[in-house]
């Protein structure tokens, strides 16, 4: 859009009608800008697929949707497992190399320790009234959060598009994610 003041070819000042048209054009532009600003946008890139790392993006996304924001969560690499209907039921907490775990690594590395740590966390979540991952996914989708599954990762992991929850967006890549990020007020990498 040109920002030059309109004028006639011979350099004479613009007529009242021309100025009027120009004012109307600018008013429309401002109205469009206001409409664009009315809704906040957030893009989260979810890259992790452990039990504990599945929570932050889902909690923020569902809450942002409650604010009426336009929310996209782009799931890539291990983050894709959060949207995988079967794998999302079985996300694990890693006991090894996790300084928050009350056990030494040598013990944490024993078979079944991840399963045990995950079971303990699941029990605490249940006791605390914290939602399950599946509940948060359903809530997010119900509220119109766009949960996107990176197409490249789907192929890399040899997943099928049918493996994901209904209403998950497939067939999207980095360019789509960047486009949403560029338009977003908030961008997060988890």
């Amino acid at each position: 859009m040109s920002t030059e003041p309109s004028s006639t070819a011979d350099g004479a000042p613009p007529s009242a009608a021309e100025l009027q048209a120009r004012v109307e054009e600018l008013e429309e532009t401002v109205a469009d800008l206001d409409a664009d600003d009315a809704q906040q946008k957030m893009t989260i890139v979810a890259t992790q697929g452990t039990f504990d790392m599945a929570y932050p993006p889902l909690i923020l996304a569902s809450t942002a949707a409650a604010f009426g924001w336009d929310v996209v969560v782009f799931h890539t690499f291990w983050g894709l497992d959060i949207l995988h209907e079967e794998k999302s039921q079985n996300l694990q907490l890693s006991a090894v190399g996790n300084p928050n775990m009350p056990m030494p690594n040598a013990l944490a590395a024993l078979p079944g320790m991840d399963r045990l740590a995950t079971r303990m966390m699941e029990n605490r979540i249940d006791d605390n009234g914290t939602a399950t991952i599946e509940e948060l996914i359903d809530l997010s989708l119900e509220q119109g959060v766009d949960l996107q599954a990176c197409q490249m990762t789907i192929e890399l992991m040899e997943y099928d598009e049918d493996d994901f929850y209904d209403d998950v967006t497939v067939g999207v890549g980095a360019a789509t994610a960047l486009q949403h990020m560029a338009e977003s007020d908030i961008q997060l990498l988890v």
Partner: protein, 81 residues
């Protein structure tokens, strides 16, 4: 006049923790008629700050009152538009 005199609907999210009180409040307020007041009952201590923040950042709702009643946090949200 206290806000709880005008309650149109009550949402009971006792026992649920973040982000449920806010998310459920948003869903419930959608079904409240304009001018109506939604009462939200929660046991989540964070709901005092969260519902306040949600109401401030959301158009068409106004937080009228928040009351701590024993273990229960009561919130009164009016649907203004």
């Amino acid at each position: 006049m206290s806000a709880n005199d005008d309650v149109t609907e009550t949402l009971d999210v006792k026992g649920a923790s973040c982000p449920m009180p806010v998310v459920k409040t948003k869903s419930a307020i959608d079904d409240v008629p304009e001018g109506g007041v939604l009462e939200v009952l929660s046991t989540d201590k964070g709901s005092m700050s969260d519902i306040d923040g949600w109401a401030a950042g959301t158009s068409g709702v106004e937080l009228l009152e928040q009351v701590e009643d024993g273990d229960v946090y009561k919130h009164y949200v009016e649907k203004t538009a």
